[in-house]
Structures are given as structure tokens and as C-alpha cells.
């Protein structure tokens, strides 16, 4: 029938038009929202390294914008601003940006969004994160080997699953060396307040802790450890220059390849919403040089790193016991499932403190 054919033709034409619209583009405008300042030497700094890698890779073909120190409460405005000003893709790089990113993504269906460390996705909202807990397991082992007092410390930002999983992996790593190791956790309720992070580290050190790590964004805790002759780790970025005598290693986030790959997908017109969770094997999580420790400890760390990269070792190998001694159901393949790790809201056995909720 004539009408039918023309309808099909019209639909086909529309479809071709639509395909053409999502196909290759010559240039892309890329936006980044950071929770801290790019000069935090940590989390936001590493994301900005990724932004610079995008600029270096594509040159004139991309234009990048970043907004730093965006409070999580005010993120929607900042994200919308980028969406409205012609950005093709916007990366929002803090867990707390999840709801605002989703809200803006729904209002701007033509703009692509990528949210780091979250779990809410849409057709134009992808998520990506790195398995930092793999690195945490390694530094837990190192901490247990290096601690003389048998008490190790952890400065945490907020009790969200990502941080809790890090604490648990750190503890499991430490327990694999010394089952009686004690772990003290201090929450500072801020991602970025160097002076308070330093005070938190000092409080831990004053109470007998001799190796600390932190899941906040500045080198202040590491520096506080160095001042007391204690040991520590870099977080998110290699912080060796802040404490050359105290940094044992650092868990380094490497977003460069991921950002380049995703911007390439935008240029090619092949971008799709997805969920990526890269670990040591993907290069998203890197370990800085193992230093200030005996060679045998460094060798152990390198062996663990290799075992995790090859998939031979999983930080959350079953059985995992929760704080109250109950066994956590094993929903993954011989280990906790990714979903269990991403939604972790319990401490493992051996941690005495109560988890704030």
C-alpha cells in the first residue's frame, strides 16, 4: 500500500537522520566537575591529570572545562551550567554528585554524563569507578608487616560503601599477615580539610598507632605521620614528596586512559552508557614505588599486586565474616560479588569500632 510504503520510508529516513546525528563529530566539548580543588594533590588532582591527558591526546579537537571545589549540595547548578553551555560530555567525579548528575541527565538527554563511583545509570549517564580496595588490601599487608605496636590507623572521610570497602580490604590484608592486628578508624566528615585530617592522624598516633592510611584527599595525614616518625601511605596520588621518609607506597588513581577512551567514543559516535569498574589489571589502580621498607616486604607487596592483577587473589575471598562474627553470604565466584562490595555497609570481623550510620 502506498501510504504504508511512504510511512516506512519516512521512518527509515528518520532513522537515518537519527543515526547521522549520533555519528562522528569533529570536535567535542568536555566538562569536568571536581569535589575538591585541582591542587588537592589527591583525588581531584588525579582527575585533572586525566583531563590534561584528554587535551594532550586530542589537541584542537577537544575543548575541556572544569569546575573545581563544587560542594555536593550545590552540584546540580554547576552540572547544569556545563550541560547548558554546549558540552558533549560531562564527567562528575564524586560519589555525592550522583543524584544531581541523574537529575541533570534527565533534563538534558542529548548530553552524555559519566559519574564516578556511583551506581545510578541512565541511557545518557554512565558510571565508572576503580577497585581501590585492591590497593587497600596490599597496603594492609604492608601496614601489618611494618607496624611494631600492632595497632594501625585509618582516617576516613564519610562512612559510604566505597570508604567502608577500603577499610575492610585494608583490615583483611593486615589480618592475612597478623590475625591479631588492631585497627582504629577516625572519621573527619569531610573529603578535604587538611588541618582536620592532620589532627585526626595525630590523634591516632597519640593513641599508639604507628602506621596510618587515609581515605581523604590531602597529604596532611601522611605528613603528620612523618612528623612523628611513623609511617603512612599516599592516597589517590603519589605523595612521596610530602613525606619521602614515611610514604611506604601510594594507591594511585589513573583515569587518563579511561577519559581518553571515552572522549574518543564521543568523537566516533560510539558512546554508550555503561558501568566500568577497573582494578589493578586495567591500570586504573596503580601502586607507587614500594619504599622505606625491607626488601622482603616490598617483594611480598609486589607478589600480592601481581596475584590481584592476574585474578588469582581477591581481597574479599570467601568466607568473609562481619563484625558480629556472622558469615557474609558469598554471592560472587568464590568471593563477594561486585554488588556486595559496592554496597558494603558493615565492618569485617576484628574491627572493634562501631560503624556510623
Amino acid at each position: 500500500m502506498k501510504t504504508g510504503t511512504s510511512l516506512i520510508a519516512a521512518v527509515a529516513a528518520l532513522a537515518i537522520g537519527a543515526t547521522a546525528a549520533v555519528a562522528q563529530q569533529d570536535t567535542a566539548k568536555v566538562g569536568f566537575i571536581y569535589v575538591g580543588p585541582v591542587g588537592d594533590h589527591g583525588w581531584s588532582y588525579q582527575h585533572d591529570q586525566g583531563r590534561q591527558a584528554v587535551e594532550a591526546a586530542f589537541g584542537d579537537k577537544v575543548e575541556t572545562t572544569f569546575v573545581e571545589s563544587v560542594p555536593e549540595s550545590d552540584a546540580e547548578r554547576a552540572i547544569e551550567q556545563l550541560a547548558r553551555t554546549g558540552h558533549d560530555i560531562v564527567f562528575t567525579t564524586s560519589f555525592g554528585f550522583m543524584e544531581p548528575t541523574l537529575a541533570v541527565a534527565q533534563r538534558y538527554p542529548d548530553v552524555k554524563f559519566e559519574h564516578a563511583t556511583g551506581y545510578k545509570r541512565a541511557d545518557n549517564l554512565a558510571t565508572y569507578a576503580a577497585k581501590f580496595h585492591e590497593g587497600r588490601y596490599i597496603i594492609g599487608q604492608i601496614a601489618a608487616r611494618m607496624s611494631e605496636s600492632g595497632v594501625i590507623g585509618y582516617v576516613g572521610a564519610f562512612p559510604i560503601p566505597e570508604v567502608i570497602a577500603g577499610i575492610n580490604a585494608f583490615m583483611l590484608g593486615a589480618q592475612s599477615i597478623d590475625p591479631d592486628i588492631e585497627l582504629r578508624v577516625v572519621w573527619v566528615n569531610s573529603w578535604y580539610d587538611p588541618a582536620r585530617e592532620a589532627d585526626a592522624a595525630t590523634a591516632l598516633l597519640d593513641q599508639g598507632v604507628d602506621v596510618i592510611t587515609q581515605h581523604t584527599d590531602s597529604p596532611a595525614p601522611l605528613q603528620a605521620a612523618a612528623d612523628r616518625g611513623a609511617l603512612g601511605f599516599g592516597q589517590a596520588s603519589d605523595m612521596e614528596r610530602f613525606a619521602p621518609e614515611a610514604q611506604l607506597t601510594a594507591i594511585v588513581d589513573n583515569w587518563n586512559d579511561y577519559y581518553v577512551e571515552r572522549v574518543q567514543a564521543v568523537l566516533d559516535g560510539t558512546w554508550e552508557s555503561q558501568d566500568v569498574w577497573g582494578g589493578i589489571d586495567s591500570g586504573m589502580v596503580e601502586m607507587a614505588e614500594y619504599k622505606n621498607m625491607p626488601e622482603e616486604v616490598a617483594e611480598m607487596a609486589r607478589a600480592t599486586e601481581a596475584a590481584i592483577a592476574s585474578g588469582e587473589l581477591h581481597p574479599f575471598t570467601c568466607p568473609v565474616f562481619a563484625q558480629d562474627g556472622s558469615e557474609v553470604p558469598c554471592e560472587g565466584d568464590g568471593a563477594l560479588s561486585d554488588a556486595q562490595i559496592l554496597g558494603m555497609n558493615f565492618y569485617v570481623q576484628g574491627i572493634e569500632a562501631q560503624l556510623p550510620n
Binding site: P37, G39, D40, H41, V188, S190, S218
Partner: protein, 305 residues
């Protein structure tokens, strides 16, 4: 050193930047000028102090330049609110935003650098006093400067002729002007003094406390200093008490967590604010009468000709 002494030591150090900034703001407010730009001046102090200390490899140069930067920011504020009688709240907020932004720009080349530790200067004999000696008298020099500032400002406001004049200008600038007091001139000095103090507080953060520069490192301490002045009812000694209460609660809540006291960390994190407000409210009740703000606080003064 016992744990108690260690905790006390950290408390004094944590209170110091708040105290220095609060004392400066207190003087400006007693002269009748509300400067909400403390956070911005402090941030500028922090960045310039670090930049100078790093460039000249001298902590002293850093401190002096940090203070200068704070003072210059205050002078800019004085030009706006005293020279052009601009709205003090608006100008102060603008100064904070401007200071935070400009400090980020100035500090960009210094991101990722660090400075050696500032050694403590233990005072002989005094630092041997049991319990409190170590905390009070084995500190870095800037802590002593902060103590000196409180005593000096308290004495200046209460016991000197110039201090009396400054207070009367803050209470009622029309009368003070009628009596022939140089209202604007004294206010400029008071505002710049506040800026020097805020700059010094910033220098303390970037040179002594964490020894690196990073944007927004003041993390709201300038605002706490402004609040302390109000809660201290514009009295230097109460500002000292307020800063110490705030510092104590801040440090103790961290220790409570480290010692695994079973209280929610969010509640503990709010403790400093609750404790400080409570302590100062109680203090002002005990004083028996309401202590109000300086009468002319925040109002622009345009002399008649």
C-alpha cells in the same frame, strides 16, 4: 609525654589559627567595622606565606609576607567600606570570594611543594610545668605570638586611651566624631590590624600546621573566627576561651573516635560547634547582663562637612 599532654598540645595548636584571626576581627568590630572577609584574607595569608617561604627558603619571610597580604586585602576592604561607604556585609562577602579565588591563582605554581617542619621553641623551666607545661610552652613561636596578641589587645582595649577611643568610635561614631575623634582613620587602622592577624592565621596554617599550600585549605576557619567574636561578646579573653573550647572539642572528638568511644561520628563532628555555643552562652549568662554588639557595628559612617 603522656597521652593527656599530647592531646593538650594538639588542642593548643588547633586553637591558635582561630584565635589569631578572631582577635584581629574583634578589634575591627570593636571599632565598628564588620569584616566578613576573614576567610579570604586568611586564604591570601596562607598562599603568600607559603609562596614567600618557599621562594626565599625562610619561614620568617613567609610569615611577614602572609601578614602583608592579609593587610593589603584589609586595606582594599577599608577603601570600599570606609572610603566609599559601601555595604560592609556585601563587601566582606566579596572579599572572601575574591580572596579564595585569587589565592588559588597565586598558589597554582606552588601546588605540590612542601616545606620543612617548623621547630618548636620550648621555653626553659615553664615547659617543665607538670601537665600543662608541655602543651603551653613547648610550642612553635606563633603560638606564643597568639597568647601575646590576646593579652596585648585586652590591655589595649581596656586600659589605654587609644583603646577607649577605638571603643567609643565603635559604640557611637556620630558622638565620637562630634568629640573630634578621627573615626575613619582609626577604623582603617583597626581593619588593617584585623587583616594582618588573618594573614598571620593563614600563614600558621600553610607553614606550621600542614606545611603545604592547597586551595581552600582554610576550610571555613575564617568563618569560625568571625563566629567566635560574636560568641565571645567582643571580649578578647572570651575569644581565647572560645577558641580553646572549639579546639578542645575538635581534637577530643577525634580522640574519642580513635579510642573507639561508641558514639556516632557525625554527632562527635558536630560537638565543637555545640560545645562552643553552649560554653559561651553559659559564660554570657554568668556575666549577668546581656553584652551587645558595638553600637555602630556594620553601619557606614559618612562625616558631615
Amino acid at each position: 609525654m603522656t597521652t593527656f599532654e599530647a592531646i593538650l598540645f594538639t588542642i593548643v595548636a588547633a586553637s591558635t589559627p582561630l584565635l589569631i584571626a578572631a582577635i584581629g576581627e574583634l578589634v575591627a568590630e570593636r571599632a565598628g567595622v564588620l569584616n566578613l572577609g576573614v576567610e579570604g584574607m586568611m586564604s591570601m595569608g596562607a598562599v603568600c606565606a607559603f609562596a614567600a617561604a618557599f621562594t626565599f627558603d625562610s619561614t620568617l619571610a613567609g610569615i611577614l609576607l602572609g601578614m602583608t597580604a592579609g593587610g593589603l586585602m584589609a586595606a582594599l576592604f577599608a577603601l570600599a567600606v570606609l572610603g566609599f561607604a559601601a555595604n560592609q556585609v556585601g563587601a566582606g562577602l566579596a572579599l572572601t570570594i575574591f580572596g579564595l579565588g585569587l589565592s588559588g591563582l597565586i598558589g597554582a605554581p606552588f601546588v605540590g611543594q612542601t616545606r620543612p617542619r617548623v621547630e618548636e621553641w620550648p621555653i626553659p623551666i615553664l615547659s617543665e610545668i607538670p601537665l600543662v607545661g608541655h602543651a603551653l610552652f613547648s610550642q612553635d613561636p606563633l603560638v606564643y605570638v597568639a597568647f601575646g596578641l590576646v593579652a596585648g589587645v585586652a590591655f589595649f582595649l581596656a586600659r589605654t586611651r587609644t583603646g577607649l577611643r577605638l571603643r567609643s568610635i565603635g559604640e557611637n561614631h556620630v558622638s565620637a566624631h562630634a568629640l573630634g575623634l578621627p573615626v575613619l582613620k582609626m577604623r582603617v587602622y583597626a581593619v588593617i590590624f584585623g587583616g594582618l592577624c588573618a594573614g598571620l592565621a593563614g600563614a600558621y596554617l600553610s607553614l606550621v600546621y600542614t606545611r603545604f599550600w592547597s586551595p581552600n585549605m582554610t576550610a571555613g576557619r575564617g568563618w569560625i573566627a568571625v563566629a567566635l567574636v560574636v560568641f565571645a561578646a567582643w571580649r578578647p579573653m572570651w575569644a581565647l576561651v572560645g577558641a580553646l573550647v572549639f579546639g578542645t572539642a575538635t581534637v577530643l572528638q577525634l580522640h574519642a573516635q580513635a579510642a573507639q568511644v561508641p558514639l556516632p561520628s557525625q554527632l562527635l563532628a558536630a560537638a565543637p560547634y555545640i560545645a562552643t555555643i553552649l560554653a559561651l552562652v553559659l559564660l554570657s549568662i554568668r556575666r549577668g547582663r546581656a553584652v551587645g554588639a558595638p553600637g555602630s557595628l556594620g553601619t557606614p559612617f559618612v562625616p558631615d562637612r
